[in-house]
Symmetry: C2
């Protein structure tokens, strides 16, 4: 996972909108039809469709069509690269704190002797 | 943490750009001057300054000025809301899988009897 991974940019971009996050939370509980997803948002259907296509492009949802009904389902493993990136940042930061700890300990020992 | 938290939108937006993610990784290792951050990106200073202001607005970095030198440092705890949101989604999804498990077990028991 590098910082220049384009998928990671699409992923974080998809998560940067409150309506899209609300849709994901809704879909985490159960798959849903596009019209059912649109209803609680109070947004017009074309706007919701645009949000859904951003989520689909980021790999976060999959859609299927039966007759005239389109159903959306979450792809939960698609969130993993975001989690991995955050974990990597935390590891980098903790390694820095450890180095700082070592340095302070060394200074204290030098002062004692 | 609700999906409509504006800070969470700023945070994910800040993370949606590869240059900004690279700057954060760089700062996780050690604080740095703006000119030092700009150099590896190959971008012009005003462009880098715009990226830094997006990061600062999201609370991910803090800057300080001494004379004519501006230094940037990461604010690591600022990443926590993103991690919390991802954890919440995973919990929702796992609860759904558990319910599905229970349902399948119930069906199998009914078939046995």
């Amino acid at each position: 996972m590098t910082n220049h991974d384009p998928d990671l940019s699409l992923l974080f971009h998809a998560l940067s909108d409150p309506t899209r996050r609300a849709i994901l939370s809704r879909l985490a509980a159960t798959p849903a039809r596009v019209t059912d997803l649109a209803e609680p948002t109070g947004l017009r259907l074309p706007t919701v469709m645009r949000h859904l296509s951003v989520l689909e492009e980021a790999g976060l949802i999959a859609t299927s069509k039966q007759g005239r009904t389109r159903t959306c389902a979450i792809v939960p493993e698609a969130l993993e690269p975001a989690r991995t990136w955050l974990d990597e940042q935390r590891a980098l930061w903790e390694a820095r704190l450890d180095r700082l700890d070592d340095y302070v300990m060394k200074l204290m020992k030098e002062r004692e002797t």
